[in-house]
Symmetry: C2
Subunit: 121 residues, 2 copies
């Protein structure tokens, strides 16, 4: 069967990712690797990760998400998380995932706008 991977779209200077189902651990790690490679490959200056369709996140996935944001920053790409649902917000905070200085927005469109503002500053 196909290996499950999360598609990463390049749009102008940004990468767009929409996570539309619950990730298993392997897929999450693969995503981490794929995203960092894609940032390197495309020299993207920003990434929008849309979680609108995700209504639950476990501690492992939350950690991977926190890690991938930190790693992307190290590589010079700003990350915006969009569409965080209440239960996901609760999990992230309760687990103490350090998303302090993470940009967030309501949806993909607003996420892109936020990136543009941030990068213009």
């Amino acid at each position: 069967m196909n290996r499950v991977r999360i598609p990463i779209l390049k749009l102008y200077d940004y990468l767009l990712v929409s996570i539309q189902w619950e990730l298993d651990d392997q897929t999450a790690l693969q995503f981490q690797e794929d995203l960092l490679n894609k940032i390197h490959e495309t020299s993207a200056s920003g990434v929008v990760i849309d979680l609108t369709s995700i209504d639950f996140i476990d501690s492992f996935i939350a950690k991977v998400l926190g890690d991938v944001i930190g790693m992307s920053k190290l590589m010079g790409a700003k990350v915006v998380l969009t569409g965080i649902q209440p239960a996901v917000a609760i999990t992230l905070v309760e687990l103490g995932i350090s998303l302090n200085d993470v940009l967030t927005a309501l949806d993909l469109e607003k996420g892109l706008e936020k990136l543009q503002q941030e990068l213009e500053d």
Copy 2:
């Protein structure tokens, strides 16, 4: 395990899909259903399907692709295919998939621009 589905991103008035691995038949049919539902749900006026990462397409997938384009049109959404590689172009033509009046473009950005032009007319 997770069921494999192709994420469909909504950006403004458009839907973006990037197919980044070879589809099996079940995934292709699921994609067809998901895309049509999403067009209905979002009233999207255009769809960009990016095939940049696909270097091979079999006859079943080619047919599903042709079908989904026709169905989307019926629902009022224009479809642009982007990033068609040589081997994929050959397969589509050899199989006689009716992509005569399908819009194509080099990449996702150009696909979005083409949709915008078409919809302004």
